[in-house]
């Protein structure tokens, strides 16, 4: 049964507080063990992936659109202006769901039985993390490993930009950065460090082994010198010499990730 709420400050809506306040959300979501999915399609994918619904916040207009998948979940129905007041923005397709987080598996689990993974080192932009999950999932990457400081794939914006791909691809987070690559190499993965350095091996020409891990660095600084040094091979995406002369000297991390993930598929064994 839907519960009608008319006050944006009603304590029943506490899961949805301060959605535009990144710091507040980080602590609130980790304390309560929840994340927020926005929009009908993404909420359906979260439910389909097995995340339990804590509650849904919607308006009369969108109430029916999710009825078939919500079961006996608590649904709070609010007027449009309360929705905007709670969210602080125009909610995509009029529905937000507070979902329970599930335990993130250990890295060893994500490395089992897979041949192509992506490892993200300290990407702090939630939109970029979401976009890379979307690319990786679409292009057949089997799993993602995050450095300890990498942004949360279940943060609302990551989830939204990924179009729900964060639910479709297994991921794990390293316990520590310093020795993080060692476990991946020990599991037999060839580690490829993506760098803008045009002296590195072009991605198209790498001789790939059965198990390959593509390492992607942060938006500004790229991979740490430690990871660059530890990797089996440094790889690059060849750029136009004339563009580099004109000062267009790099791709953004999502474009680079897309091209590199596409390249990973070359020679990947079919399942």
């Amino acid at each position: 049964m839907p519960e009608y709420v008319t006050d944006a400050n009603d304590p029943r809506l506490a899961d949805f507080a301060g959605l535009r306040d990144v710091e507040l959300r980080k602590s609130l979501e980790s304390e309560r063990g929840l994340f927020v999915a926005e929009g009908e399609k993404v909420i359906r994918r979260a439910i389909g992936a097995g995340y339990p619904v804590r509650s849904v916040l919607t308006t009369e207009r969108w109430l029916a659109s999710l009825a078939d998948v919500l079961g006996d979940a608590t649904v709070y129905v609010v007027p449009e202006e309360v929705m905007r007041g709670v969210a602080g923005f125009q909610v995509h397709r009029g529905a937000l769901a507070s979902m329970e987080r599930l335990p993130v598996p250990p890295v060893s689990k994500v490395l089992e039985d897979v041949s192509r993974i992506v490892v993200l080192e300290d990407l702090v932009d939630h939109g970029n993390v979401g976009a890379i999950f979307r690319c990786a999932a679409a292009l057949g990457v089997d799993g993602i490993v995050l450095s300890p400081r990498c942004a949360d794939p279940l943060y609302r914006r990551s989830v939204k930009v990924s179009m729900g791909a964060v639910f479709a691809i297994p991921y794990a987070r390293m316990d520590n950065w310093y020795d993080g690559l060692e476990e991946i190499r020990a599991a037999g993965f060839q580690t490829l460090a993506l760098t803008p350095d045009q002296g590195a091996t072009p991605m198209d020409r790498v001789e790939m082994r059965d198990r390959v891990a593509l390492l992607l660095g942060s938006e500004g600084d790229g991979l740490s010198s430690r990871w660059l040094r530890e990797a089996d091979e440094q790889v690059c995406i060849p750029m136009s010499p004339t563009a580099m002369e004109a000062g267009v000297d790099s791709l953004n991390v999502v474009a680079a990730a897309a091209i590199a993930c596409h390249g990973l598929m070359r020679g990947a064994s079919s399942p």
Copy 2:
């Protein structure tokens, strides 16, 4: 000589009015024939590409950073809070420049002496247009042709996301959409329509001719049926079958453009 201004509503700052109001900016910029570049690096690239400076808006703190390239341009120096008041956001590296637009060349001019172009049909998101210019420039695309309804590459956000690549790659706008492709085909370009349809030819397997035009469609709907039908060949980026089963059934337009532009370079004749 810098002119010190203390009132956000001072008429001398009119070029910078309403920077967050897309509709206002569209009419203001077309009437006055200007665009706005944000941040030192992008302003330098605009000046380097030959766009005349109308005026620069900055704060005392950032004044010196551009001194070497501004010549005798008018520079308005305002307190930090006036800067925020005028812009309505935190200005990247403390400087905005109002630049004069230059005449956009006809399509025929952009098609001269080039072998790889991208054609954008009705992309309305300024960030996506800027990101595609950045990819295209970095990956050696020689020119870009825009459909009549495509977003403005010189809109502030396009310029910013492109990191100034909009100044590095020649572009033109079609007079009309209906016959727009005909001129490109008549100039001897093989037209490749990018589609998510997995029945199309994988981008990696296209036999490319000397002159190739890659057609990219809008964020939501992709290419129009007319352009899909008129193109010489429909091409796709192969996706993972398991991802498609999980509902991750497409790449975003920038990721797709990056992979496709990378693919265009295969077999391109070296300059």
